[in-house]
């Protein structure tokens, strides 16, 4: 990915298998979010490929698709700085996620035939299920902007889940959370993994990263500087250098 003369991402590659949690870490400005934006179609990479193989399906290239088409193919994301629909209710936020899985059009909306009504009912039911899964069911009718911070983060995950993704991309989901909230998030992510979802995670909370990830990629200046299991990465001198400077130290934290 290049912006003018600046190469923000350089020969970065990453693999994610079904039911796996992979973390992407690196100092601020390393290009992690840029990488996410390339994956989800917000940026179009200058070069490179993005391949997705659904279980039992064919491999498809996703580069060049519009963001909504990529979401339809099964990549859903959350944002580093929460991007909910603040004046819509919690339930509606999740219902928006189901937009690309439903069909009702303008005529359906006006005449509200049996098919539309059924679809609407299913949308509400499915959204409520997702809300109870993320522990937000009691807040369903609340405008999203009234939610406490941790709940807003969870709502973003619920909204992304509503698009029925194969891969969930979480951009710093634990940022600004208190320890209790982080713990709940940890459980939620594990549960999602156990349901067969693949999760790619950008995170600065090393405790969370180390406990969750099956595999960690470390990035600096748009390049991959290390990869491996949490233990390997923790010992990698390159990583320690990127995080703490030249001096020797125990572990990046």
């Amino acid at each position: 990915m290049e912006f003018g003369g600046i190469r923000a991402l350089d020969a970065f590659d990453l693999q994610l298998r079904q039911g796996e949690i992979v973390a992407l870490i690196g100092p601020n400005g390393a290009g992690k979010t840029t990488f996410f934006n390339c994956l989800t179609g917000l940026y179009r990479p200058t070069r490179g490929e993005l391949l997705l193989t659904p279980p039992g399906g064919e491999t498809r290239g996703l580069v060049g698709l519009k963001p909504n088409e990529i979401t339809e193919q099964g990549l859903a994301r959350t944002f580093q700085n929460i991007r909910l629909f603040p004046r819509m209710t919690v339930l509606e936020n999740v219902m928006i996620g189901l937009h690309c899985r439903t069909r009702a059009g303008v005529l359906g909306a006006i005449f509200r035939g049996p098919a539309t009504r059924k679809e609407e009912k299913e949308t509400i039911a499915a959204s409520l299920r997702l809300l109870s899964k993320t522990g937000l069911a009691d807040l369903a009718d609340e405008p999203a902007r009234n939610l406490p911070y941790g709940a807003q983060r969870r709502l973003e995950i619920a909204r992304a889940l509503a698009t029925d993704p194969l891969v969930l991309l979480l951009d710093e989901p634990a940022a600004g959370m208190n320890p209790q909230e982080t713990l709940e998030l940890d459980e939620l992510i594990c549960r999602l993994r156990d349901e067969g979802l693949s999760i790619l995670l950008i995170e600065h909370d090393m405790k969370l990263v180390m406990s969750l990830s099956d595999h960690i990629f470390v990035m600096d200046y748009g390049r991959k500087i290390a990869e491996g299991s949490p233990v390997e990465v923790r010992r990698n001198p390159e990583v320690i250098k990127a995080y703490l400077g030249e001096e020797e130290s125990d572990a990046p934290a």
């Binding site: 944002f79 937009h99 303008v106 509200r112």
Partner: protein, 415 residues
């Protein structure tokens, strides 16, 4: 709640004094000085200024008291922090005991209006209803989908001219022209929609403003097509099963027709807002990037909003042509777009009942302020400013629909 602590300090009095001086300064040129060009004399009307000074001084003291009272009561919360719908007008509206009689009363008045009032009054009411329709249409684009459209009058013109021209060349009647005008306007909506898909906010406003002017200038200058500034006359009024109606009769007929169409508009707009499409529009207004990331096709959603908004303007245009029986480009200036936008903003973006109230207020007020003669528009402006000061988010704030959640039913219909 303890009694709100309200009192005036010397600072407040000083500020009120400054305000009144400022008003004296502002109104000096047209309230104090009167020039008689014939006799070349200047008449100084000093008592006028004293009236202005005293009135504004007292009013600004009153405003200060009101503000303190409000702040004390709301515990220094701004309107933004409050739960949606925390607004006296809105609370009144959601109370079923108030709402039903209010609705019944309004419909009763609406039904017998032409029987009780003169043709002149009915005519004004038809215009007001026309603007209700336009306001509700623009509300889809601006209020719901958040696309600032300053060229809305273009679609109104398309509707009006499609009836006028189709009638002139092919003898097409009102009832055929109504859907045709709507369809043509919708097409123009999509036509405008394509180039502005990537624009937002101010930029979008400028392009739509330009579009509105383009349509008007074409109509003004393309004489062979639109008869230029002289316009098109003798457009037939809507027919009533082939009967010939007297002027009075046809106005009454047009009134009921308009009433029916407004109800139809309210019905459709309400259903659209509470649908999958409507949710996508709201989401688009809230956050475009998140919207796309959630799998909503931005292009299609924006185009539907433009097309559907334009549809209502097209219909209103056909009715306008039929009502006035004469149209020319002068009826479709930017001022019209501004008034319609005013209706949407004043009503509370996205609130149907708010738009209806605002349309009635904005169209009827200048008419009934006529006794004030010269000061009519001054009073009108004052009312607008006052409304924006006291209700910055519109008369009635839109409320998101809440769905039944485990027996907890809240209002099923939005205001």
């Amino acid at each position: 709640m303890a009694a709100p602590n309200v009192r005036l300090t010397w600072g407040d009095t000083g500020r009120a004094l400054l305000t009144s001086l400022w008003f004296v300064f502002l109104t000096f040129p047209f309230l104090a000085v009167k020039i008689n060009p014939a006799e070349q004399t200047v008449l100084w009307r000093w008592p006028n200024l004293i009236h202005v000074a005293v009135t504004t001084f007292l009013l600004s003291l009153a405003a200060c008291l009101y503000r303190q009272y409000r702040e004390a009561r709301l515990d220094r919360k701004t309107e933004d922090d409050l739960p949606v719908g925390h607004n006296p007008l809105h609370l009144l509206w959601t109370r079923p005991g108030v709402r039903l009689p209010l609705l019944a009363g309004a419909s009763a008045i609406a039904l017998v209006f032409p029987l009780l009032f003169s043709t002149y009054q009915t005519n004004i009411m038809i215009t007001a209803l026309l603007y209700v329709m336009l306001g509700l249409g623009l509300n889809i684009v601006v209020g719901v989908a958040g696309l600032l459209d300053l060229g809305y009058v273009a679609f109104y013109a398309v509707g009006a001219y499609s009836y006028a021209l189709l009638n002139l060349h092919f003898g097409i009647g009102f009832w055929t022209a109504l859907p045709l005008g709507a369809l043509l306007a919708a097409l123009f909506g999509i036509l405008l929609g394509f180039p502005v898909l990537r624009l937002r906010g101010d930029y979008l406003a400028i392009v739509t403003l330009g579009f509105g002017e383009i349509i008007r200038l074409i109509l003004e200058n393309w004489n062979d097509f639109s008869h230029g500034p002289s316009g098109i006359a003798n457009i037939p009024r809507p027919g009533f099963f082939g009967l010939d109606l007297s002027l009075e009769g046809s106005i009454t007929y047009l009134y009921y027709l308009m009433l029916g169409l407004v109800l139809f508009t309210v019905f459709v707009v309400n259903r659209l807002q509470n649908s999958r499409i409507g949710r996508a529009w709201f989401a688009l207004r809230e956050d475009e990037i998140a919207c796309q990331a959630m799998g909503i096709d931005k292009t299609r959603t924006k185009l539907t909003a433009f097309a559907l908004g334009a549809t209502w303007a097209g219909m209103a245009g056909v009715i306008f042509a039929a009502k006035t029986t004469f149209i020319n480009p002068a009826s479709f200036t930017f001022l019209e777009s501004a008034i319609i936008l005013c209706i949407v903003v004043l009503g509370g973006m996205g609130s149907i009942i708010g738009v209806i109230l605002a349309a009635l207020l904005l169209i009827l007020l200048p008419e009934y302020l006529r006794p004030l003669a010269d000061y009519r528009m001054l009073a009108f402006g004052t009312v607008l400013v006052a409304m924006m000061v006291f209700r910055p988010r519109g008369l009635i704030s839109p409320v998101r629909r809440t769905y039944t959640v485990r027996g907890r039913t809240i209002s099923d219909e939005p205001a």
